[in-house]
């Protein structure tokens, strides 16, 4: 029979051992500059927090990555062993052994996160980050805001996820920090009422073009500064597995000028957010706010659509869904 004091000492020792290895213990989330999301009535967009223990002797399997839409932010807290290393550094086509913070720029660091650590061939997530690590107590840590840099690709049970670093903290008035490793709580999906059933509301146009293999849209977007549009676009995957038009978190499509004989001028349409990836295609679906881009380059003008929070828009009580064909008034 152990004494109470002896038992306490054992528990404390076990805790100290666990906490002495930051990657195992799961480091606390540092001050990110964002508020934590309110459990209810939160109108800001939650930024998922993904805490990953990438050490060889991690006690639990890596949590799955949060559902990541293009252009959305993720806060990643990752710890990995240096000895033996569980990752490699890629730069200029060469692969270097793990090193932490020895680069003057952010190299591409790749981590294998198997679903089942006892059976690494069963697949999992391959995480690629452009980041500089911080070395402490045998662990290389990568913390910060990132943005997805390419569409997730899955082959032979492994999903490749690539993230670019974000220079600035996302704006506090528009984003909040979600709980660690929890998916965004699904809020009941609200529906915008059709304009026929409402009076004195602003009609939101519906734009549903198709996308060709060249990234060409079949119809013009209703683009006017400060206007909101409801969009649903099915984007097929290209031969390389990426969805057509995807680049650095944005989708870029074109509407060529039908009058130009050179066929090299027109409108470039950029969309960010509200996207999801499936095996054969990506889908852009939801409400977007149009913002102008005035720069015309080589005959191409551009327009930008940024995703907006559908529930907040609907809650404002100012809008209704236009019938198709009535939208471009």
């Amino acid at each position: 029979m152990r004494t109470g004091a002896g038992m306490t000492a054992i528990i404390c020792s076990a805790l100290l051992v666990a906490l002495s290895h930051p990657a195992i213990a799961g480091r606390p989330i540092p001050d990110t500059g964002l508020d934590h999301c309110k459990p209810r009535g939160e109108h800001r967009i939650p930024v998922p927090t993904w805490s990953v223990d990438a050490s060889t002797n991690a006690l639990s399997p890596s949590p799955p990555p949060p559902s990541i839409a293009g252009g959305s932010f993720v806060y990643i807290v990752l710890g990995a062993d240096m000895y033996p290393s569980t990752f490699d550094i890629r730069s200029g086509g060469a692969v270097y052994p793990a090193s932490c913070g020895k680069f003057s720029y952010s190299p591409l660091v790749s981590f294998d996160l198997p679903k089942d650590r006892k059976n690494p061939t069963a697949g999992g997530t391959r995480l690629h980050l452009k980041a500089l690590g911080t070395f402490s107590h045998g662990t290389c840590s990568y913390d910060g805001f990132f943005i997805s840099a390419s569409a997730p690709q899955t082959a032979q049970g492994w999903t490749d996820l690539t993230f670019d670093p974000v220079d600035k903290t996302p704006p506090r008035d528009r984003y909040c920090l979600a709980d660690v490793n929890t998916a965004r709580r699904p809020e009941p999906r609200k529906v915008l009422p059709p304009c026929e059933r409402t009076a004195h509301r602003i009609p939101i146009p519906v734009w549903q073009p198709a996308v060709s293999a060249d990234g060409e849209l079949t119809s013009d977007p209703p683009h006017q500064h400060g206007a909101i549009v409801s969009t649903s676009i099915e984007v097929p995957r290209a031969a390389d597995g990426n969805c057509i038009g995807w680049r650095n978190g944005d989708f870029r499509f074109v509407r060529k000028n039908p009058i130009s004989s050179a066929n090299n001028s027109g409108l470039a349409v950029l969309l960010r957010g509200n996207d999801s990836a499936g095996p054969a295609s990506c889908r852009l679906s939801g409400f977007y706010l149009n913002e102008p881009i005035f720069d015309v380059q080589d005959g191409w003008s551009r327009t930008f659509f940024g995703a907006i929070d559908a529930n907040r828009m609907i809650d404002s009580g100012q809008y209704c869904l236009a019938r198709r064909g009535e939208e471009s008034k």
Binding site: G226, P292, F294, V296, G306, G317
Partner: protein, 153 residues
Amino acid sequence: MKRIYLRLALILAAASLPGASLAAAKLALPPCSKFPSGKKHVYPWTATLAGGVMSAPLPSNDHSYYYFDFVAAEDAVKTYASAEKFSVVVPPGVAQWKSDYQLFLYGKAEQANGRYYFTGVYAGGSGSDSAEVHRRDTLEIVLSGEYCLDSSG
């Protein structure tokens, strides 16, 4: 007759900024009611500034929020060390004042095609020799439900 010439000059000055307004403005705000609704009124203001000519007088000082669709030639805009501060000199003649009047604009602007584009909702006020306006977040203005668009003039 003199008035007609002045009007013609202003129209020509605006036309000399090709592509001045590439994207038509259609801020997703409800029109203001004639009756008090508690909503803040946003007044549209469209102007170009080129060759020392302003195509429209500055908006009235009676209001707090304006929807700017303002395009100024690059050489008419003074920039500052702070990337989001600009100023233009509004020449006399198009409004009540007799000497040059300075308009300070805070917030992001787009520089393209030899011009600066100041597009969005601005809030601020004016004094006797200068005015100062600050750009507001378009998304916040649109979704808050607290604003309406007043095109009554």
